[in-house]
Assembly symmetry: C2
Homo-oligomer: 479 residues x 2
């Protein structure tokens, strides 16, 4: 394994995407990326607020989704009176789309035909009628798979000059890891923390100009709603970014996996696809766009099924052809996950037996998330030394924390990033697992952590109270 590439890839300082498990009374920790390992004697529950894994935090699956999956897996259930008629009907429809009528057959590599058509229809409805072509839809093994695949296609072939990929800071670390793995160049642009983590074009331009000295910037990644930062871009902001991409001939990668997770009043999700087409043919005929969605987030939170989709706009036919080849090598995305995509893009309609329950379950999840987003922000802002932007969308708070100089020194003595030091203490003392900002990138000298808003409300309140108490003690200890 090449050392330099490897180092670039994995020494993302301080990342703490931890695996946690108990071995007797000792909590075992292992970081998923840096392999940092630790054994702690914490004889009580650990709150895993480090990863956007809704079901792991107790969120219940949507009944209709699971009923249809169960029937597809075991079609004898078409005879069961435990299953509603519309679930049976949908299972029949999906199995007809599977080779041999089985979830166990390979599908086409791009994804099952009738499901891609549903996705296209769903996008059209979402975007107020702007057309979407099923041929431009690719079902994927989760959004991560799609993102890495597209990057792989784009990141090569510019002669001796390496391809630059612009990513927000803070960012979801999949991006930096993929860039390093592909030996591309990471080009950072900073989100504006003082302005609710807004994406500003002047900062994009600064970043691009600086990057052109060292690489060939070709891709601009945007995460909207933001992870870990939780901002939801306004329409004008999306427009500005598209205009910038058009001027600078950048391909846009729009990570929109949190499109259903918008909570703040006055905020609305604007898909890049929709805005692009509303800006007229000057843009909609030229700007290359790949946008990504997933079944892992939203109200369904079905991470374990590993499924998502991407839509490609204005993609060079040759590049698209390469893409078809590239995905074919892996045969097909998991078929069960593809079925779930069908269900979220074409949910039960009014009048269907499952409609009412589906809507109720969906609303319950989303309104609980909205309440918890608001609560977390409020609570954090009530802690002296905390500063937390509104959680407009996604599933995370990303508060900025002021750490006393003595804490910074103690961290350095321990060989840790200061916010890593803070998060480890929080875990050790309170059993609360969050991710230090250094895992996502942050402006030099600032410190943050990412915490999911996924714990059940009462538990979340306790967590927030506990963090407050912890922080006061921490500050006292290091003042």
């Amino acid at each position: 394994m090449s050392q330099s590439r490897d180092k670039a890839l994995y020494q993302i300082q301080g990342i703490l995407l931890l695996c946690l498990w108990y071995c007797g009374e000792h909590l075992q920790l292992r970081c998923r990326l840096c392999l940092f390992r630790l054994s702690l004697r914490i004889p009580r529950e650990v709150i895993r607020a480090n990863i956007g894994d809704a079901h792991a935090m107790g969120q219940k699956p949507i009944t209709f989704i699971r009923q249809v999956v169960a029937i597809c897996a075991y079609p004898e259930l078409l005879n069961s009176d435990m299953m509603p008629e519309d679930a049976k009907q949908r299972a029949r429809y999906l199995l007809q789309g599977c080779n041999g009528g089985s979830l166990g057959a390979y599908s086409m590599s791009q994804g099952i035909d009738r499901i891609r058509k549903k996705v296209a229809k769903y996008i059209e409805t979402r975007d107020g009628g702007i057309p979407s072509d099923p041929e431009t839809i690719f079902l994927t093994t989760g959004a991560s798979d799609g993102i890495v695949t597209i990057m792989k296609l784009l990141v090569s072939g510019h002669g001796r000059c390496r391809t630059g990929v612009m990513i927000p800071i803070p960012q979801y670390p999949l991006y930096s890891a993929a860039i390093s793995e592909l030996a591309a160049v990471q080009v950072n642009y900073y989100l504006d923390e003082d302005n609710a983590w807004a994406l500003n074009v002047p900062e994009l331009r600064r970043s691009l100009n600086e990057a052109r000295k060292r690489c060939y910037p070709r891709v601009l990644c945007v995460i909207n709603p933001g992870n870990p930062t939780g901002q939801v871009q306004c329409r004008k902001c999306v427009e500005d970014v598209i205009r910038f991409a058009a001027e600078e001939n950048l391909l846009l990668m729009a990570d929109e996996v949190y499109q259903d997770n918008v909570y703040a009043e006055g905020c609305q999700f604007h898909s890049f696809k929709k805005v692009l087409f509303e800006m007229g043919p000057e843009y909609s005929d030229t700007v290359e766009l790949a946008s990504f969605h997933s079944i892992s987030k939203g109200y369904m939170g079905e991470c374990g099924f590993r499924a998502g989709y991407m839509e490609l706009v204005n993609m060079d036919p040759e590049v698209k052809a390469q893409l078809v080849k590239l995905v074919s090598v892996r045969l097909c995305p998991p078929v069960t996950g593809q079925a779930v995509i069908d269900l979220i893009t074409d949910p039960p309609q009014p009048g269907d037996p499952s409609h009412e329950n589906f809507i109720q379950e969906k609303q319950q999840v989303l309104s609980a998330l909205a309440e918890k987003a608001h609560l977390s922000e409020q609570m954090f802002n009530s802690i002296p030394g905390f500063q937390c932007n509104p959680v407009q969308g996604a599933m995370y708070t990303f508060p900025r924390i002021q750490l006393p100089p003595r804490a910074v020194q103690a961290a350095q003595a321990a060989g840790q990033a200061p916010d890593m030091f803070y998060c480890m203490k929080l875990l050790e003392e309170m059993g609360i697992c969050v991710v230090p900002g250094s895992g996502f990138g942050q402006r030099e000298g600032t410190y943050h952590f990412r915490m999911t808003i996924l714990p059940p409300l009462e538990k979340l309140k306790t967590v927030l109270e506990n963090i407050k108490g912890f922080h006061q003690r921490f500050i006292e200890e290091f003042s």
Copy 2:
């Protein structure tokens, strides 16, 4: 996209891993890899004997597997009297191993702990008690995912000299595609067609010596039972290969996805792991081995779930650490597929309610495959101009066909490989889809095709009769 790499990757001449679908009365064809497209007016059924996709050819899923998956997906079914007690018990066990008790939560990246333990136990039993450590087991998104991941780890870091990967010819094209994608060097060794596609060490040595002039050969891939060639390696042959790998310091990649598919009398599957350990510490302490298995083949044929596992022996701890990091970026393999791995590595035991039915279904599939393997070989060998090695294992026949010089000329005039030309005619005239040998590689001037033995018996008989008739007409036409 880099042109040269791209060309190497995809211009695998004549490959015909076709997607087929009807559009009105016209059959649409698209090759999964070379994107070759065609529309044919074939107003009758097409037999897709081109891909090892058991369920697509009508094989029924194993009931117990699907019952457990259904209950896991929709745990309300724990209350259903349609489900046997052992399926319920297993579902409870599996859900306890899932975070939040849900298939929808992420698992550990390496795979669910208790399932990896089952896999290790399964391997131990298979290999007569030779120990297997769950820490060396990685669950994967199908065997392809594991193979590509391991190659990615190994194929770099030898300075300016590119890494060579030895693969059999004929080979399953995943290997050549992955090698090209990773910009490694494909090093061909030829299987001995005159000797039932045996793997000979002198040929390995010839290939290695030749390759050392142009690259740094580091990996030796073996497919056993063979795809597309169907041979099952004898114990001595496995031993010879291991000794060769030890002498030449090659890492062995053993693709053993067809380990349950052995039909010929006197043939037996010998895992590389077992033989390695039986050869004593001189080998078992030193030879690096990665072996792969899958739920897509065997008697279950659950391709659509995309799951498999790999076991690593003597892997450098640093390389293993990199692997853990690499798989972490994609979060985790599909959890439903992981559950299926649990079921095939720990099937119902005597006394369990589902045991009898499970064994019966399994035997039914395997004995039908054995019958069809035998039938296909016999039938092909009865056709003048056909020469077919015994189908000792796997799911394919790979007959050699003699093509008259005029057919070769006609193919050249059409810009096609001669066996591609033959296979296209077979598809057009008879609606039978098989893969030309040129897609797998073959000795210069020889022609083959790969046909699965998966069609139901009666249909397979018709297919074989039809090929016989077609071949006679073809020979007449071009004599």
